[in-house]
């Protein structure tokens, strides 16, 4: 048994297991630093309604790549989140809206965007990018909705939400951008969003989203209109 554990393969497995046993550790900040840090973190989320058009460069599972135009819109009054994907030729490939955080209505989905789970996954990603982790899209707060301010071992400030057994770390960047990482309870990364410095109206000109795993994908965003 000892001999087996000593093999390089087992050591790698053990090392990976240890690496993913928990999300990165954070230490508390002083009370004087806490509120300003939380305000900084929350300031990265849209304060109200928005409508955005992005040029999206997507890298899909198996290395496939494609470019589309993404339209996303949030109506604060009706709590309606809408999204569309357009081919460069203008054809609407996908169009859907979610009212009140629950009722997802897909009005158009051309293959392969009509596959089960695509619409729900897209809206999960939009939630991740545009809404604080502890806040439902219908405006209600959920358990874990309050961020905990802290610092990583390397000194970077971080706000951490713990919601439904997952960890969400928002790390403000010196250039005005930020990164947001989602971890499973065991520490395995699930999603990451890296936003560059904001344009004049507050939304980042460039951003990148990565979803990890066997069916993972990534998207680079360039803001076209807001």
């Amino acid at each position: 048994m000892r001999a087996a554990l000593a093999t390089p393969g087992c050591l790698v497995v053990l090392a990976l297991a240890c690496a993913c046993s928990a999300p990165p550790k954070i230490t508390p900040v002083t009370p004087a630093d806490a509120d300003p840090l939380i305000r900084t973190c929350l300031a990265h989320y849209p304060p109200g309604s928005f409508a955005l058009v992005h040029a999206i460069e997507a890298t899909l599972p198996l290395g496939n790549a494609s470019s589309v135009i993404g339209v996303s819109s949030w109506d604060e009054e009706t709590h309606t989140l809408s999204a569309a994907l357009l081919a460069p030729e203008g054809i609407a490939l996908f169009e859907a809206a979610r009212l009140g955080g629950t009722d997802l209505l897909v009005t158009r989905a051309l293959a392969p965007l009509d596959r089960p789970g695509f619409a729900a996954g897209l809206f999960e990603d939009l939630d991740f990018m545009y809404f604080p982790p502890g806040q439902r899209a219908n405006g209600a707060s959920v358990k874990g909705g309050e961020p905990v301010p802290g610092r990583y071992a390397d000194g970077r400030s971080v706000c951490r939400w713990t919601v439904d057994g997952r960890y969400f770390d928002l790390v403000p960047a010196a250039d005005g951008g930020f990164s947001l990482s989602e971890y499973f309870e065991g520490g395995e990364p699930l999603r990451r969003y890296e936003a560059g410095p904001p344009a004049s109206d507050g939304f980042p000109m460039h951003a990148r989203f990565v979803r990890t795993g066997a069916t993972g994908y990534s998207m680079s965003f360039r803001l076209v209109e807001q």
Partner: protein
């Protein structure tokens, strides 16, 4: 992204390629076919205006296309996304300009979709508007004739209600193509600087740059 979207895009190109034929025989699809071989090349700029409820204001894209008889097409968007679709001899390629400034081949299902619609394209290139398996064509004659392409397939009709190819009063020149996707969703492509039968470098159908 999919064969429908690509099919429509190519339909637009082919409609433009058929423009000179239309002007001389606006009431006869057979005449279109007979004159198909007369056109050697076309180049034009285009402005594409997308309207849909979700957009606060229409989304405008600009680009350029080239056609060389019998089966070469370059369909290029310059803003807001830079993409180039190349069709030549049954081969279809699509490239996207990545954030790092490099052109990358589009390996999504769009490319396979383009191959599927090549059969349609070949027919349209030969002036066979009225023989397409994806669209049926009708002609509205006049000083500014219009060809209306209607999807034959019910599934496609769910997403594309019709495509209108509008000719200008200048003989042989297409003014605009509009794709109607539903009540409030449409894509209008307006052409300018149309040039016919000028020399075209065939390498433009083989490589992005």
């Amino acid at each position: 992204m999919n064969k429908l979207g690509i099919g429509i895009a190519i339909a637009i190109v082919i409609a433009i390629a058929s423009a000179p034929r239309m002007a001389r025989a606006a009431e006869d699809f057979n005449e279109l076919r007979r004159q198909a071989e007369a056109i050697k090349s076309i180049s034009a700029d285009f402005t594409q205006t997308k309207k849909m409820k979700l957009l606060k204001k229409p989304l405008v894209s600009k680009g350029r296309f080239l056609y060389q008889s019998p089966d070469s097409v370059r369909w290029e968007y310059q803003t807001p996304i830079r993409t180039v679709s190349l069709v030549k001899g049954g081969s279809v390629k699509r490239f996207n300009l990545a954030a790092d400034g490099k052109w990358r081949a589009d390996s999504s299902s769009a490319v396979e979709g383009m191959r599927i619609v090549m059969e349609q394209i070949t027919g349209w290139l030969a002036g066979r508007f009225d023989e397409g398996t994806l669209f049926s064509a009708s002609l509205v004659p006049g000083d500014r004739p219009v060809v209306i392409l209607s999807p034959r397939d019910k599934e496609m009709a769910r997403f594309i209600s019709r495509v209108e190819v509008r000719f200008s009063n200048r003989p042989g020149v297409v003014e605009a193509v509009e794709i109607f996707e539903g009540e409030a969703t449409s894509t209008l492509i307006e052409f300018s600087s149309v040039k016919l039968d000028e020399a075209v470098d065939s390498r433009q159908f083989e490589a992005v740059e």
